[in-house]
């Protein structure tokens, strides 16, 4: 039978077949749709404001006025309690939003005014960070010095502060903003599993052998898988960002970031799919990649938790670029180093992924 073949036609046929197969895989189809809806819902339910006020409970006669007059109440919402017991209960229960309690003794003002020593109890729950405890200690000392009329025991050293890189002081990001890269990355990861499952099925059921004994080459098969994986991940990430209104003014930049991200997770999907023997092993391999890849996204959620090694994780540049472009309005020149890093990692992942998958296919 005479027929006209072209490489593009063969790749298109495999891509078309893969989308049919994906649309018939109810599990991945359903979790893709549910994922998109849930992630969008989660985003909009997150608070979009940043409350920078700390509620501090205080007990002790005349302390409220002393604190206010000493200027120590800026950024602090003071709640006065009639007794230390009432304050302790409030801190324990977190009622009135009280995060920390300062229990001053009844004779605090008189004792301090007389230049004598006394003790103030700082009440905190286990979850209060050490930085906040230290701040409360300093605050109590300041009040004590202010009440006693004495100056601080040491003269503060002159100091200069240099912020290296972008100064984010005052650019507080809401939890909703912080969730954005995590959600976008989760969508990409779900599609990584979908593609890995598709690839694993082709290998395990040996349908790929049937393909490569036609005029289709292994390269056509691999090209089609890259196209399918990238499209699946990219389109869904774009849908999510549209749903959470995050494409922003610089849509071309965001689309580029997402395309690079989709390409990167596709490369990891090829590796996961090559080693996957069934659903469980596909999930196992996908999670093996997911756990390290998602660390930078969590680092955004919990500032200060990221160590320098996080920066070498392949997804770091991607997350950093999303955060920069969406939360801080960064442009092409700002995120270029991040994009270059993502591109470099993507190339590495493809070299590894494609060679593993090619070997697998040829060994069947």
């Amino acid at each position: 039978m005479t027929a006209i073949r072209s490489r593009a036609g063969i790749v298109a046929a495999i891509v078309r077949k893969d989308f049919t197969a994906f649309s018939r895989d109810w599990f991945f189809l359903v979790i893709s749709i549910i994922g998109l809806v849930l992630f969008a819902l989660m985003f909009w339910l997150m608070p979009n404001t940043v409350d920078e006020t700390i509620t501090v409970g205080v007990s002790g006669p005349g302390i409220g006025e002393a604190l206010t007059s000493s200027g120590e109440s800026q950024g602090i919402d003071l709640k006065l309690y009639p007794s230390q017991d009432a304050l302790t209960t409030a801190v324990e229960n977190g009622s009135d939003g009280v995060a920390v309690g300062l229990a001053f003794p009844p004779d605090f003002l008189q004792t301090m005014a007389a230049g004598q020593q006394t003790t103030v109890d700082v009440l905190v729950t286990a979850g209060v960070p050490a930085e906040l405890r230290d701040a409360m200690d300093s605050m109590v000392r300041e009040v004590a010095y202010a009440v006693s009329g004495e100056t601080l025991p040491v003269t503060q050293l002159a100091q200069n502060e240099y912020v290296l890189g972008v100064d984010r002081s005052g650019d507080q990001v809401s939890l909703r903003e912080k969730m954005r890269p995590l959600l976008a990355f989760m969508v990409l990861v779900i599609e990584m599993m979908s593609l890995a499952a598709l690839v694993a099925a082709e290998i395990q059921q040996r349908t790929v052998t049937a393909i490569v004994t036609t005029p289709a080459r292994v390269a056509d098969f691999l090209t089609a898988k890259v196209i399918v994986g990238t499209l699946l991940a990219f389109v869904q990430a774009v849908i999510l960002l549209i749903a959470i209104r995050s494409l922003g003014a610089n849509a071309p930049l965001m689309l580029t970031i997402l395309l690079l991200g989709a390409l990167m997770v596709t490369a990891f999907a090829l590796i996961a799919g090559s080693y996957g023997r069934d659903f469980i092993t596909v999930v196992f391999w996908s999670i093996l990649f997911l756990v390290p890849l998602i660390i930078p996204a969590f680092a955004v959620l919990f500032p200060g938790s990221a160590s320098s090694w996080v920066k070498v994780i392949p997804s770091y540049g991607l997350i950093n670029a999303i955060v920069g472009a969406t939360s801080y309005g960064e442009g092409w020149s700002d995120v270029l180093p991040d994009l270059a890093m993502v591109a470099a990692w993507t190339v590495v992942a493809y070299v590894v992924g494609l060679s593993i998958l090619r070997r697998k296919v040829e060994a069947l």
Partner: protein, 287 residues
């Protein structure tokens, strides 16, 4: 004048240090069905993989339809059909979608699925997903898939293994039709009776070596033993006598056996391909 569809010359292939195929050579003519017989691990699948362009021989040369395999794999693959032993179909796709996909890979525009499915009695299941098919139906669909491009050379790996008689018969009919159409058919099977019935010639392969290649009739005549088995009853005793026809005095011995009274049954016997394989390979096919 017969056209050579497959020409294999001095082909060897090793997996690491293990020699899977050792210097085999044979030819298959257009319209001929070659039964490729051997036990598991004999080198059949490796040979088929080389003939279908999945792997490259370490040495020797292969030409299919006059086209050398080296450098022309795609040209050859566009003119062959392969039916694998594994049921490597897309389970979540319909029979029609499976065939149309492969037609697209061959670059066939406007492919009509129904005539191909009719040949394997699956036309009425065209729109059903493969996951709902029985083993026999899947196998018939595999055969149908190998026919999508009207191949000039057809490779069938255990096409009737474990199938019901109806499915087996449908597949055998297709093999005969393809051969009659002029396609060369390479049939790999464990079933000696099937090979005997369908093959114009059979090749025995064992431990990577091609042991013999000839027509089933010729093999039986040259290497098998023809005999007559006579059973007779004398009182309570049943006697059975096997008289080899190739020995001198066979006619007299048959006459004596028949004339001695108490005749129960007379059967003619000829060697099976299995017997001949054992003679060559020193082992049974299913071992």
């Amino acid at each position: 004048m017969t056209t050579t569809a497959i020409k294999v010359e001095g082909v060897s292939f090793a997996y690491g240090d293990t020699l899977a195929v050792d210097d085999i050579r044979f030819e298959v003519a257009a319209g001929e069905t070659l039964g490729f017989l051997g036990p598991n691990g004999a080198g059949k699948s490796t040979t088929i993989k080389m003939l279908t362009g999945q792997i490259t021989p370490d040495s020797g040369s292969i030409a299919v339809l006059g086209i050398p395999m080296t450098g022309h794999v795609i040209d050859i693959q566009s003119r062959i059909g392969v039916c694998f032993e594994e049921k490597n179909l897309y389970e979540n796709m319909t029979a029609k979608e499976n065939l149309v996909f492969f037609a697209r890979l061959f670059g066939i525009k406007g492919f009509d699925v129904i005539p191909v499915l009719q040949r394997v009695d699956l036309a009425d299941r065209a729109d059903d997903r493969v996951s709902s098919f029985s083993k026999g139906m899947r196998q018939r669909l595999m055969v149908a898939r190998s026919l999508v491009n009207e191949p000039d050379v057809l490779f069938l790996d255990e096409p009737t293994d474990g199938l019901d008689p109806v499915s087996s018969q449908a597949i055998r009919a297709v093999i005969q039709e393809e051969s009659a159409r002029g396609a060369a058919v390479v049939l790999t099977t464990h079933d000696m009776l099937e090979a005997d019935k369908l093959s114009d010639r059979v090749a025995f392969i064992n431990e990577g070596k091609l042991l013999v290649l000839d027509t089933p009739e010729s093999l039986k005549l040259q290497h098998g033993q023809r005999a007559v088995r006579v059973r007779s009853r004398h009182g309570d005793q049943v006697n059975e006598t096997v008289i080899p026809l190739d020995e001198a005095g066979a006619g007299d011995r048959i006459r004596d056996a028949v004339g001695s009274g108490g005749l129960m049954t007379i059967h003619t016997e000829e060697a099976t391909l299995e017997d001949i394989f054992i003679k060559f390979a020193g082992r049974a096919l299913e071992a």
